[in-house]
Symmetry: C2
Subunit: 142 residues, 2 copies
């Protein structure tokens, strides 16, 4: 599993994030999405009502590099931001979405984490940044 | 001004978003940032303590395409997401940041909106998506 228990708890509590992909002309795309964690495979799974026709899905089909951010601001003054940033590769899968969420399209995006950067997640809202690469031993994709 | 009054109200109330840029190898980067709206120029301005050395700043200096998302989830069940997505070009400016926020680095990023996509902002939390290009008449960059 590439995520720590604290990261899993945080990701589950938030439940949605923002997926950045890159389009055919090298332009970034960025959009809020709901997601689930597949603990068996150590992946992030993104489903949606119109997934197959969405820009993010078409971008991933041509360029598998993604950056996915889950964050929130638990305190405004002084401003405290917590975040998990997942850099990785993604698959644009033709099936599996409807099985996970019946009201969604069958297409889905599966993110394989390669590098995880977090701040404010390790319990103390410290501003320290934690960054690490995901290895095959963590359940990362070979 | 490229933004409607409702968009400005929403953007100001949120105060932070996620900036997607593209790196030298075509990989996306995505990170939460605070921002301000410059009403005179119709731009989004992003400052930070370590701006000049940040990945986002270096990415923008080499590839000016950005996608900036401001969103929140006002209701969890049923899930309602509100969002303003700004596609545009950005400048990696050497000065101006410290003048805006004294504790920040002097470097700053200025986003010029080219296309704005919103949902849930027009007062009724409707799921309708509003999308439009920014023209020179709106204050867009020529």
């Amino acid at each position: 599993m590439p995520f720590t228990q604290k990261e899993i708890t945080y990701l589950r509590a938030q439940g949605y994030g923002r997926l950045a992909t890159v389009g055919a002309r090298g332009e970034p795309h960025n959009v809020p999405v709901s997601f689930e964690i597949d603990e068996e495979h150590g992946t992030i799974e993104i489903t949606g009502r119109d997934m197959g026709r969405s820009r993010k899905f078409r971008n991933v089909a041509k360029n598998d590099r993604v950056a996915f951010v889950v964050d929130d601001v638990p305190c405004r003054d002084p401003e405290v931001v917590r975040a998990v940033v997942i850099h990785g590769t993604a698959q644009a899968l033709p099936t599996g979405g409807r099985e996970r969420r019946p009201h969604c399209a069958d297409e889905m995006i599966r993110i394989h984490p390669r590098r995880i950067v977090t701040w404010g997640i390790e319990g103390d809202l410290s501003t320290g940044v934690h960054a690490r690469n995901v290895t095959a031993e963590d359940g990362g994709r070979r």
